[in-house]
């Protein structure tokens, strides 16, 4: 994929789109990575002064403390509806939300799917770490079969709760979305012991930028970031990366599911 081939040139010094407030994210959590990728894209595209982020409910609830942009709080799951309200009266603004799997694929699935169906020119970033992180490790819509959580103590059982929900495929099932992509964000194990690659972050950086560009061109943009939650998975950080690569990556295959404007091909 061309995006992954881009050379990442680290920008020295503070990003304008970061407040500099230390994040509350746990060590090894991809929320921190994504926060930086979003700030980088906002700086590169020079859109900070006309961007309004919508804060969702979950681990990203405090993202407006870290991203130096205007922000509006959404009720749990309703971020796409709040973004639609913003865009309908102010199409000149850009808006985005960082939603978790519980926010976007459980309590807010209706709001996500209807915004996708209408093709609202908004940007949704979904952090899928297969568990409710903020509330302390309960089963999520994306929890794999067999994963032990505090509300599936014997492991998720599909006969009772159904199989995991694939939000990317659901969104891509509608006609109007312009950009639908899934990125495997964690550092990933390589054949060399103790060596991990950061291809996900490179690809993620390009995907975030594309997602804003697609919104600028009037399209609905959705990027799912398969992530880890070592604290609530009760694994070490590197073991969590390995689990994500072994279990989540096959379950939620990365790739471009929709690219109506051809932003990936440039």
């Amino acid at each position: 994929m061309s995006a992954a081939a881009e050379v990442y040139v680290p920008k020295l010094g503070a990003l304008t789109a970061l407040t500099g407030t230390p994040t509350h994210y746990c060590a090894g959590c991809e929320h921190g990575t994504l926060t930086r990728l979003i700030a980088k894209a906002i700086d590169e595209l020079e859109i900070r002064e006309r961007t309004v982020m919508v804060s969702s409910v979950g681990c990203s609830v405090l993202a407006h403390e870290y991203l130096n942009v205007d922000a509006v709080q959404a009720p749990h799951g309703r971020a796409p509806a709040v973004m639609a309200g913003i865009k309908r009266v102010r199409p000149d603004l850009l808006t985005f939300a960082v939603q978790g799997d519980g926010d976007a694929a459980s309590i807010g699935l209706l709001e996500l799917l209807y915004a996708a169906n209408r093709g609202e020119p908004i940007t949704v970033f979904l952090v899928n770490n297969a568990i409710y992180g903020m509330t302390g490790g309960q089963m999520a819509p994306t929890t794999p079969i067999g994963m032990v959580t505090t509300t599936s103590p014997s492991g998720r059982d599909a006969t009772s709760t159904g199989p995991p929900i694939d939000a990317t495929r659901l969104v891509a099932g509608f006609e109007r979305p312009a950009y639908v992509k899934r990125v495997f964000l964690p550092i990933a194990p390589t054949p060399i012991p103790r060596v991990y690659n950061a291809r996900g972050a490179l690809e993620g950086a390009a995907s975030v930028r594309h997602a804003f560009e697609v919104q600028e061109r009037g399209g609905f943009a959705f990027v799912e970031f398969v992530s880890t939650c070592s604290v609530n998975w009760k694994l070490g950080i590197l073991d969590a990366k390995r689990y994500a690569a072994d279990v989540l990556r096959p379950l939620f295959p990365p790739g471009v599911y929709r690219d109506r404007f051809g932003v990936e091909g440039r």
Binding site: V52, D70, Q73, A74, R78, I86, L110
Partner: protein
């Protein structure tokens, strides 16, 4: 419609009244008996006859609609939605967030009958939910109670004025009767356009950010915010109560009624006065803040028999008793299920109070 004289249903009049305030956005979910509001606005949106009216959108649910209102309101837009009982319950989530974030917006509840689905007839049984704030957490409420089709047209302007002045949602609490009633009216003037207030989230300018959030994780922060909301509630209670009195100066018995019940009470007053019973009316126009001081003054001036007329099992009567503070005989009469009390019922209840 650009002509000022009209013969409209209450719901239609409210829609035109809202348009003439310079309404920017309406987010709809249909529910009887409020649906003429979104239908009227959809038609006017298609005609593009009101330049400020930038958005009409039918949402997938009541929750989505109120969340869209939140987004539009956060940019400083005049945004609203309307619903009825079952939908008003769903709006409470968004109203709590909006009050916590201090967003101005207008919500209309065309009260229908009964808990659950009930029926499509008029009731005033959402009084507690609207005035106390049916959402979680504590927050100020402003609730306006129109009693005629002209007031259905006029109250969106008052509602938006109060919503923007105090930065809080305002509810217009009507009922199925007022929504469907047709009357002559002169529509209010078209308001001058307003521009986004300084608190609106429309992009950070340099170092100035606008963060509209109801989240205050530090206990001291939430405490400060809650005290701020309480102070706002007290300021609204001190400055904004509105009520109308009719023939109370010499009244032996005073009806206390709002909305359609105030109309019924006026008819009963005429019948009672024809029978030499001196009856009057105290009509709260703001249900929240309740015009308690004014009612207390009325009681102190010797009006010591208050007959509360409501289309519910007795809700506003609690506020009347609180205001009267033991200084008056307060009784309650009403109907439920979509029926209205007859004039004879009110006359008999008033006469019974004087025996």
């Amino acid at each position: 419609m650009t002509d000022d004289r009209a013969f409209l249903k209450g719901n239609e009049a409210l829609a035109y009244g809202a348009l003439r305030t310079g309404l920017n956005a309406y987010f709809a979910y249909p529910i009887t008996p409020s649906s003429e509001i979104p239908e009227t606005l959809a038609a006017e949106f298609d005609r593009r006859s009101y330049p400020a009216f930038r958005t009409f959108l039918q949402a997938a649910s009541e929750l989505e609609a109120i969340s869209m209102v939140i987004g539009a309101a956060a940019t400083g837009a005049k945004a609203m939605t309307a619903t009825s009982g079952p939908g008003f319950s769903l709006k409470q989530e968004g109203l709590s967030y909006a009050a916590g974030m201090e967003l101005p917006m207008l919500i209309v509840d065309v009260n229908r009958a009964g808990p659950g689905l009930g029926n499509l007839g008029p009731e005033q049984s959402d009084y507690f939910q609207a005035t106390r704030g049916g959402g979680h957490g504590g927050y100020p409420t402003i609730v306006l109670a129109p009693a005629s089709v002209p007031e259905m047209a006029a109250f969106p302007a008052l509602g938006f004025d109060l919503a923007f002045e105090y930065r809080t949602p305002v509810t217009v609490l009507a009922d199925a009767f007022l929504g469907q009633l047709k009357e002559d009216l002169v529509l209010p003037d078209v308001a001058a356009p307003v521009y986004a207030p300084e608190w609106a989230a429309t992009g950070a300018r340099g170092a100035t950010r606008h963060v509209l959030s109801s989240l205050h994780l530090e206990l001291a922060d939430q405490s400060r915010h809650s005290h701020h909301l309480r102070e706002k509630r007290d300021r609204i209670a001190a400055r904004e109560p509105r009520a109308e009195e009719f023939e109370t100066d010499d009244a032996e018995v005073v009806f206390v009624a709002y909305g359609i019940c105030a109309r019924l009470a006026r008819r009963a007053i005429r019948l009672l006065r024809a029978r030499s019973v001196r009856a009057g009316l105290f009509r709260p126009i703001t249900l929240a803040p309740f015009p308690a001081d004014r009612l207390r003054r009325l009681v102190a001036a010797g009006r010591s028999k208050l007959l509360v007329v409501e289309l519910n099992a007795g809700q506003m009567v609690d506020d009347v008793r609180l205001a009267a503070a033991g200084g008056a005989d307060v009784r309650s009469v009403g109907e439920m299920g979509g029926l209205l009390p007859g004039s004879g019922d009110l006359v008999r209840a008033a006469e019974a109070m004087l025996r």
